[in-house]
Symmetry: C2
Subunit: 250 residues, 2 copies
DNA sequence: ATCATGATGATACGTTTGTATCGTAGCCTC
DNA sequence: GAGGCTACGATACAAACGTATCATCATGAT
């Protein structure tokens, strides 16, 4: 019959405290964060701040070093707060991945030029999103990589990747098809197959850059080669945006 | 001056035991496993057996769930044995990765046909090594993926990948070059760029298969498309070398 | 016969980790 | 002004983890 075997020992301050504790013990389901999506301001900001701490730790020391206490310290809040805003460690990891995903999509969407005039240039900008071209993209790439590996053994994480990343190859394929329609591509292409290998390949090469197994210039040269292979050579000015192995780490 | 604060408390069985303990305490460096590469039989077999347990746990539940005790249980040995044969947890992980690498290279080398007659067929066989075509390859791919992510934050693991995997793109490039010399490829190719995207892309697509984000047939279709793009279309019989997933979970 | 050594069992320590409370302060509403 | 709710602090605890011993039993050298 012992009510509490763990946690702080029960030395009730008053009858009212004891009564409230008893009541809360009776109906455990979710008095915490019931709205889940409302409370548009402070609540979401706190969650985001804690999630950012998860990202930083995962990016710098790996996902396996993420603990509730480290996250709390990194976010500058108490352990209790991490528990309060997230439903346990697993939920924290899953939610942090979700948040990173929407954040990343927001940033990417802002970075690629919306003037869809030149399919080749558009495709180039899109593929650049998978390369660690700046600190932010390298950061996100590291975190995603850590999560990706973990998702092989965690269906909840896998679901986030599944739901999120899929239409990307289709987008690339659409851009190539657009180029085909405009007659600016080499004839006889299979847009879907080209898109599939491009996306998977550039992603992998981006990881190689993180690993310092390849230089960024090298990867961009590979991308340029294949873009030139797909699209008929044109583009009057050389348009070499960053071909020189300028070595721009970070 | 207390000699032992941790571990089993010192209740010496005899003066000789005490003397030995004292001596061992004085010179800590490596009385265990000093030969490191000799003792060709039993020692290496035990290490291998323990490493296999690491692989299995990493493949099934992720690298972050690997603990010394779990490894011991999975390998059917005592915790002490894992400590004895490996120098702590980190060394266990690193060595297990090294062993998996040599094992995988051995298997791959045995699988690809050594008759280097047809470059296209040879390349196809080589790329197949990165796809989870059977239980063994899927298994190894899962483990490597887990390690790869961790290696982003662990230089010792990164070193294993760096030293190991690099000449692979060069090999693919050489095969393409071989095809170019034989005149069986489309003109105007850059063998290195083609090899870089092929290896990175097929690897990434293989991961998609593990994630069940793609079907194996889909990935092989992508590979076939690009092989056909690189090599002039020929090959009378369809020449499907190993389509049936024979499922050999070694 | 003694002793060193390698392999293995047994056990315990100190720390970290996830989680479970209990308590309180500030609202807001009746 | 009593009671409910949310946000937060403080604390505690069991389990797991990495590691550090000590003990024992072979076997082979001295």
């Amino acid at each position: 019959m012992e009510r509490s075997e763990r946690g702080r020992p029960a030395v009730y301050c008053s009858r009212s405290c004891q009564a409230r504790a008893y009541r809360q013990r009776r109906n455990p389901p979710a008095p915490v964060t019931p709205p889940e999506t409302e409370r548009p301001d402070a609540h979401a900001r706190k969650r985001r701040r804690i999630a950012e701490a998860v990202w930083r730790i995962a990016s710098e020391h790996g996902l396996h070093t993420v603990s509730m206490r480290k996250v709390a310290a990194e976010a500058g809040v108490s352990l209790r707060m991490v528990q309060y805003y997230f439903d346990g460690k697993h939920a924290l990891l899953v939610d942090a991945l979700r948040l990173l995903h929407v954040e990343n999509e927001r940033l990417a969407r802002a970075r690629i030029p919306s003037d869809a005039a030149d399919p080749r240039r558009l495709l180039r900008a899109l593929l650049d999103e998978f390369l660690p071209l700046d600190g932010q993209r390298a950061f996100a790439l590291r975190v995603f990589t850590a999560y990706y590996a973990r998702s092989l053994a965690d269906p909840a994480l896998a679901a986030v990747f599944l739901a999120a990343e899929h239409p990307l190859e289709r987008l690339v394929a659409d851009i190539i098809t657009m180029g085909q329609a405009a007659g600016s591509t080499v004839p006889g292409l299979d847009a879907r197959r080209e898109a599939d290998l491009l996306v998977a390949g550039i992603t992998g090469l981006g990881l190689d850059v993180l690993h310092e197994r390849r230089s960024l210039a090298d990867v961009r040269a590979v991308a340029d080669y294949h873009l030139a292979r797909i699209f008929a050579v044109e583009e009057g000015p050389p348009a070499r945006s960053a071909d020189h192995p300028r070595s721009d780490p970070a």
